[in-house]
Amino acid sequence: MNAATPTRRQLLRGMAAGGFILAVGIAGNRIAVAGDTSTGAVFAPDAFIRIGTDGATTLIMPQVEMGQGIYTTLAMLIAEELDVDLATVTLAEAPPSDALYGNPIFKIQVTGGSTSVRGYFLPMRRAGAAARTMLVQSAAARWNVDPASCSTELGTIRHAASGRTIGYGAVAGAAARLKPPAEVQLKDTRHFRLIGKPHHRLDTAHKVDGSLQYGIDVMPEGVKFATLCASPVLGGKVAHVDDSQARALPGVRQIVVLDNIVAVVGDHMWAAKQGLDALAITWDDGANAAVSTETLWQGLQAAATQQGVAVTKGAAVEANGADVVSARYEIPMLAHAPMEPMNCTVHVKPGACELWVGTQVSTKAQRIAAQVLGIPPEAVTLNNHLIGGGFGRRLEVDMVERAVRVAQHVDGPVKIVWTREEDIQKAMYRSVYGSWMGAELQDGKPVAWSHKVVGPAEVARFLPPAFKNGIDSDAVDGAVETPYLLPNPAITYVRHEPVGIQTCFWRGVGPNNNVFSTECFVDLLAKKAGKDPLDYRRSLTDPKGRAHHVLDLAAEKAGWSMPLPARAGRGICLQFAFGSYLATIAEVAVDDDGTVRVQRLVTAVDCGIIVNPDGVVAQIQGGHVFGLSAVLHQQITLEKGRVQQSNFHDYRVLRIDEMPQIDVILVPSAEAPGGIGEPGTVSVQPAVANAVYAATGVQLTRMPIDPALLARKA
């Protein structure tokens, strides 16, 4: 167990916080929302496993499912050791409890940072093994035989010598009276039945027929529908609202005016939206009315003149000298735009509150609601749902806070759904970041290396205890531990919180900036040294190392040395991030007008031991698409403090007709598991930028790609 073994009282409290189990009609695993309420679950040895007298098994999922496939992976880990048939288990979302369900890496209940398998690989297996041990002990005691003479097979205990068998359910009651073992023996990897073999997803049967309820789909009895408009400028306030026209519209029931939010409640979303559109709202924009994209970049560059905090002890590269190379790389402000728009359904009752939402941070969601209402967190019942896309956006609870503030003024349950425009324009955003790089070359190779990272400290805001000595571990992630043999690198960090926007994590987090800048800089150095980018990287990595290996695998698969037509090129990203090694090679063609077409991505992955290989492939494929959208199409820009993009026509997401071929190579490994949700997003940006460099001779130093800089000169 990762956390201390929970007490019976903690378990009951966790269970009491649960709501209902979602009834679903078609074949496939049952998915239960908001914790375990399975009746007859007499055996609850820990926070994760429930077995009833009928053998019905429920596995409590401490990480939320938002598409990354983690329900399948965690269930595989438990089932590997518990020895149950995955086809028959119910998967239940954990209720809010940091004590019971805190992520082993963050210590609070959070799904993010590509940490699930890294954090839970052993705890889930230990939970399964401990429960199995107790069940076997109970059966052995009943038969009066040595537990070591018993074996298990998919929920059944067998005593070979006597030929007797008994189901887990029949001994569940007796097992519940045993003390969990202090130590458990985990399976030898050679005997894995599930781990390392592709397994179909357990969460998707109800996603093909519309029966799965996301947060946005809940319909509590008597629910009303609302949509809202927050101040278009961060920190702005409502000055005046003329609601005369809105009130006259059919289906409009209530208009809620708060200091910085206006919401309309109606019989359905359309009525609420028509009502909102009919309001004449005058805003007092406040202090951020002059913020623009230009001021964001200026702020970043001004911050870069500061010395910053030394993250490593290396000496900075001096700016002068014949063989000194320096460069600056910048990445833009981005929105997450998950397909399920922000939403939260709230029923405020006297001294209590019920929430329905899909969140990556259950306990934070519960606490913010409690804080708004001035009630204890335990008075807030949270029904956490499977999520229609997170990408970091649902690590934040602003959508819960706004919903509860509105719902306070509404009688009965109310579903607050943001329009897509609200979702793009009033969000929390990936900040601008920048990297200032320097290197001194000797015989073409770096003998000194400096990397100054400038960006916000998301960890300091999100998880204050993890922010130490002025260094944000996320902001510098990917800058400090590179795949390269660099002599005494000088890594520094300048904390810069941009004015006028609220920033937050975005899939790929710190490495998005640092791997991009490192990899583009390595290409620049290769060019100065007159070396091929692949050969140059090979010369900078340990030939026996994991980075070198994935690099060679990707290069071979991509046909690195095969000639390409004019204005086509290949580019490499080699990275170590989230505990995983990736080499991605992009192949692009650049049209005369500067349009970049990405034709192929080849990625070799060494993420240590793999639980579900097909899940890893899916995360790389999807991560690449997420990264491509950003590199090719996405930037949030500001004017007069307002976001200029509003929906998918001007904040574009890659579409199927722009898809490259994607090849993924998995490296078999017995190393500790690495994260896989984010690496594929990270590696695309530098690989594509380097491919464009190869195709055109132009190194783009600010994302997204600006075709105007790549157009063929007349």
């Binding site: 938002m66 598409g67 990354q68 496939g69 179909h200 997803r201 969460d203 998707t204 049967a205 996603k207 093909v208 027929d209 519309g210 029966s211 799965l212 309820q213 996301y214 946005i216 789909d217 319909m219 059919p250 289906g251 019989d267 359905h268 979303m269 359309w270 009525a271 939206k273 735009a337 998950p338 397909m339 399920e340 728009p341 499977l386 999520i387 229609g388 896309g389 997170g390 990408f391 759904v417 329009t419 897509r420 097909d614 899916a618 494929q621 999807g622 991560g623 690449h624 698409v625 997420f626 929906n647 998918f648 026509h649 997401v653 890659l654 579409r655 199927i656 007709d657 898809m659 994607i662």
Partner: protein
């Protein structure tokens, strides 16, 4: 009171004629399988069939539907093409978060019902209106080819 034929059943909704079908399905009739993604026909999450043809329900005022037959993701499994798509989607583990997949499945089912062996260009043309933020396009393409092969076998 409007009458709508949805998945072979008659439903009644007390709404004005201008309300888009999407919100009648979701908020009035409680059929939440059809998803809201953008509200401006840019993402395809709200795709339903009208007499077998894919339409964006966020842009379709209910008053214009008349007696045409509506099929939603809740009912698409009752069609051969829909069932083939659902099966291929599960066989190939196409789905990640799944939120856009109601719309993807509706667009894909319409495609394979009308096109026996869709080419990559056919798939691009039929599916480019459906955004997937998780990036499942590689498998959507494979899934359509598999479903089409089984449907027309």
């Amino acid at each position: 009171m409007l009458e709508l034929s949805i998945n072979g059943e008659v439903h009644r909704a007390d709404v004005t004629a201008d309300v888009p079908l999407l919100w009648v399905l979701r908020d009035v009739l409680g059929m939440t399988g059809t998803k809201f993604g953008c509200g401006i026909a840019q993402c395809g999450a709200c795709t339903v069939h009208l007499d077998g043809r894919p339409v964006r329900s966020c842009q379709l005022p209910v008053g214009l539907i008349g007696d045409r037959k509506i099929t939603t993701v809740e009912g698409i499994g009752a069609t051969r093409a829909g069932a083939a798509v659902q099966k291929a989607w599960l066989d190939l583990d196409v789905i990640q978060c799944g939120y856009c997949q109601s719309g993807q499945i509706m667009s894909a089912a319409a495609l394979i019902a009308s096109t026996p062996a869709p080419s990559d260009a056919d798939i691009d043309a039929a599916m480019a209106g459906n955004i997937c933020r998780c990036g499942t396009y590689v498998r959507i393409r494979e899934g359509i080819k598999k479903a089409a092969a089984e449907h027309h076998a």
